[in-house]
């Protein structure tokens, strides 16, 4: 029997023509713990979803025990002995542990007591300290994960895939989780796990695979890696021929302090976060998934609420503020340009002009009783010209625009409010290269005009190309600040994962 239990050859997955992974080769050995490491958008989740049958490959092959397979559903993958434990666990919260374990394996007549006894015996055999009669929603994160793992083992999974398994665990729970994984390994189960915490990969894994921009970079024994080598492999791009190719040689001086966030808490994502934003500067905020960047600025903009008790302070222009909804934040001069434009950014069946006009209405206290179509057209036309939105006319629906032009509409909707503080969350995600250049120019122009600009981005070259100062966020708080002049990709990534 071959040593390789699962293999992917030339695996490519395209989403709307854009490759999430491209010609990736991956091999998983029997009974090994294999860590997948990479930045946001490196293709880790897509790769594991292919293995687990959540998505199918566009091209390339997948083999289990040497035989070509193409699981189209998680159920098919489960029959092949592959189970995935997602970051957001897939348990039914209102059901008991035992019911969740046997979900999908019910018989015609289920004796509840029998299920509990079987579950008890099974959990004991795994040495898992979980009560089978407990309702899942009442369990802590670690115990929920144990149930997920137990379910995977119960289904006789030979390959278990974990997506960010330790993100929600406490240090004690992490230690226990590591013991569990090692125990599974002893039972001959192969483990694939995605982690942003490099220590975990180095401590736990037998081998490490690093992905970057959807491509395979390197696979090697964990013993041959150290932190520096991993970080180098994660970020080592050649940008010389791209729009991010030139380094900043000057930075803008900070103006007055516009925003101060002090000890902000929004469990579990934002943990005692403190930062300042200054006028006339672009403040870049970088972090990996779960770093709490978006949540922090959504609290600032009134989209999310901070903790009810001791939630910290947001100080705008030296005045403490607490917005329960976005409208007063908009009136106070804060604009938040969302990362998810399709859901939060615009009304896709409304015209470009009306969408932009909505931004203006949001700033008016109490809205406006009579709406003026003429004013909407005028405002729309002005901003379409200012931001060079490519439309066939003001009446064109936003859904008919390209991604880049849709993003410009979302930005125009915010800029029409004449904000002092503009927060761009992933401003160029899903945007074509031409529009990226235009959006970057616009962001630079806003800072030159003296506005306080925040750019949240998961793409390091973008952060480095735009920012005057760079804040690195990790586990819910800003952990490091760099001037654009001193920052390197390695330094930033090191701070983000350390």
């Amino acid at each position: 029997m071959s040593d390789i239990i699962l293999a992917l050859r030339n695996a490519t997955k395209l989403y709307a023509g854009v490759p999430a992974i491209e010609n990736v080769d991956f091999e998983l050995r029997r009974g090994e713990i294999h860590a997948l490491v990479g930045e946001n958008g490196a293709g880790k989740s897509t790769l594991t979803k292919v293995m687990a049958g959540v998505v199918s490959l566009t091209s390339g092959t997948m083999q289990v025990n040497g035989a070509d397979v193409a699981p189209r559903t998680p159920l098919e993958a489960r029959y092949l002995g592959i189970a995935m434990v997602f970051q957001e666990n897939s348990l039914v919260p209102t059901m008991t542990v035992a019911q969740n374990l046997f979900l999908g394996q019910e018989r015609f007549y289920n004796r509840l007591r029998g299920i509990y006894i079987a579950a008890q015996q099974f959990l004991q055999s795994l040495n898992f300290d979980v009560t089978p009669t407990a309702t899942v929603e009442l369990l802590g994160a670690a115990k929920k994960q144990m149930v997920e793992i137990a379910r995977a083992v119960l289904h006789e999974a030979k390959v278990i895939i974990f997506d960010e398994p330790t993100a929600t665990l406490t240090p004690e729970e992490k230690k226990y989780f590591f013991d569990l994984v090692r125990d599974l390994k002893r039972r001959g189960v192969s483990i694939v796990f995605i982690s942003h915490a490099l220590e975990e990969a180095l401590i736990l894994a037998d081998r490490i695979t690093i992905l970057r921009d959807g491509k395979h970079v390197v696979t090697d024994d964990a013993a041959k890696f150290d932190r520096a080598r991993i970080v180098q492999a994660m970020v080592g791009r050649d940008l010389s021929n791209t729009l991010y190719g030139t380094r900043k040689t000057t930075v803008r001086a900070a103006g007055a302090r516009v925003l101060t966030v002090q000890n902000l808490k929004m469990a579990p994502m934002v943990r005692n976060n403190s930062l300042s934003v200054f006028a006339g500067q672009i403040t870049g905020v970088f972090g990996l998934v779960g770093a709490g960047r978006t949540e922090t600025f959504k609290v600032v903009a009134g989209v999310l609420k901070r903790d009810f008790f001791h939630g910290g302070e947001v100080i705008l222009h030296d005045q403490p503020v607490r917005y329960r909804v976005p409208a007063p934040a908009v009136r106070a001069g804060i604009a938040y340009v969302t990362e998810d434009r399709k859901v939060e950014g615009f009304f896709e069946t409304m015209s470009v002009a009306r969408n932009i006009y909505l931004g203006l209405l949001a700033k008016l206290p109490g809205g406006r009783f009579f709406l003026s179509g003429r004013e909407a057209d005028k405002v729309g036309k002005t901003w379409v010209e200012k931001l060079r939105v490519r439309t066939t006319g003001n009446a064109m629906k936003v859904v008919e625009l390209s991604g880049g032009n849709q993003q410009k509409v979302v930005i125009a909707k915010s800029l029409v409010q004449e904000p002092d503080l503009i927060i761009f969350d992933e401003p160029t995600r899903g945007v074509d290269v031409g529009a990226i250049v235009e959006i970057h120019e616009l962001i630079q122009r806003l800072a030159d005009e003296g506005k306080a600009v925040v750019v949240i981005s998961s793409y390091l070259p973008e952060i480095m190309a735009l920012s005057d100062r760079i804040l690195v966020s990790r586990q819910g708080k800003v952990v490091e600040e760099f001037s654009a002049l001193e920052a390197t990709e390695e330094k930033i990534m090191y701070a983000a994962v350390h």
Partner: protein, 365 residues
């Protein structure tokens, strides 16, 4: 009644006045170790203040004024009381505050006779002096309730009796420019206005000739102290300790604070210090957390060293730090001379020198 309920609700929810937060060291205040790495020129027993006439550096050490030529210190004059403030005057004279209760002016640093002595009965904790309009001095009197060495008592009592005074040297007349300040500690002329450090409110205020006040730099993460002019315009602001959530919390717990003041030796209060880490009896210094099986030291800083470079408008440009793990803490005075910044770290008693071009190069300014 409503105010009492509001106060209770705020304390319960941790909001409003009961919010226990501190701003971060970021932007121009981004941490570095430049002050910690600064050259130690000399060490003294009880250094208090620095002054320069543009040519020579003077240092107040206990009851003596020293003239510094490199590392060599020459005694210029000695008093019978400790010096709490020192400044050089534009006409070549020098002014000193003695024990916080008396101001003496000399025509030259080594003049045998005193030119003027001002000992207004209201003087209590004069902690900084600066030249004012011709023939006058401006002074900050930190507190009318506590003497200068008991500044921590004043903080724990939430003192707000600080004053800014104008002293007419010839007549000895004293005029109060501002009062009710939360510990005034440092003053410097800025055009026809004054910049004043208000330590317990963590801010710098500007006082116009008509006496109106405005906040110049607010919500600092430190307790600001003395100010001095920078050679190329702007100012140097020192800070003798950093704010922490722990101390902010103690400052809101009145009963706890009263009991601490009654029962605990002031050396071990949960209060800002000029130096720390000297004793295991100090609160929280031995605290730690265990992460991934590794015990990591953790303790809120009780002392810190910081000098902030301000521009002419009082906005910070950059800062020189001695961080929590350093020793050059409790910085109470800094003056610029011949392209170098001399800072007085009162905690270890060190006079430090930093070459500004090198520091600015390191900070890439």
């Amino acid at each position: 009644m409503i105010a009492a309920l509001k106060g209770f609700a705020e304390r319960f929810l941790g909001r409003g006045d009961a919010t226990i937060t501190v701003p971060s060291f970021d932007g121009a205040l981004k941490p570095n170790q430049i002050l910690e790495k600064a050259e130690t020129i000399a060490q003294f027993d009880a250094p208090e203040d620095l002054a320069t006439d543009g040519k020579v550096l003077y240092l107040a050490d206990g009851a003596t004024i020293l003239r510094l030529d490199g590392a060599a210190a020459t005694e210029v004059r000695r008093f019978d009381r400790v010096i709490t403030a020192l400044c050089c005057l534009p006409d070549g004279g020098i002014a000193v505050a003695l024990d916080g209760r008396e101001v003496q002016v000399f025509a030259t640093p080594s003049a045998s006779l005193v030119t003027a002595t001002v000992s207004d009965p209201s003087f209590n904790a004069i902690n900084a002096l600066a030249p004012g309009p011709p023939g006058t001095l401006v002074a900050t009197d930190g507190s009318t309730a506590r003497p200068y060495p008991q500044w921590a008592h004043d903080l724990m009592e939430r003192g707000r009796t600080g004053r800014v005074l104008s002293i007419d040297v010839a007549s000895g007349r004293v005029r109060t420019i501002a009062s009710g300040l939360h510990y005034a500690f440092g003053v410097c002329a800025a055009g026809d206005s004054l910049l004043v450090s208000e330590s317990w409110r963590h801010r710098i205020i500007g006082i116009a000739p008509d006496g109106s006040q405005r906040s110049v730099l607010d919500n600092l993460p430190v307790y600001p102290s003395r100010l001095s002019p920078a050679a190329s315009g702007g100012f140097w602001l020192t800070a003798f300790a950093a704010r922490t959530q722990l101390i902010e919390f103690v400052l809101r717990e009145n009963a706890y604070r009263r009991r601490m003041m009654n029962e605990i030796d002031p050396a071990y209060w949960i209060a800002p210090k000029l130096k720390s880490g000297q004793s295991f009896l100090e609160p929280m210094q031995g605290a730690h957390i265990k992460t991934m099986g590794v015990v990591k030291p953790w303790a809120p800083p009780r002392s810190y060293g910081l000098v902030i470079r301000l521009n002419a408008e009082g906005m910070p440009l950059y800062a020189l730090h001695s961080r929590v793990d350093g020793v050059n803490h409790g910085v109470v005075a800094a003056v610029e001379l011949d392209g170098s910044l001399y800072a007085l770290a009162k905690g270890p008693g060190r006079l430090l020198r930093t070459v500004l071009t090198a520091a600015e190069q390191e900070l890439r300014i």
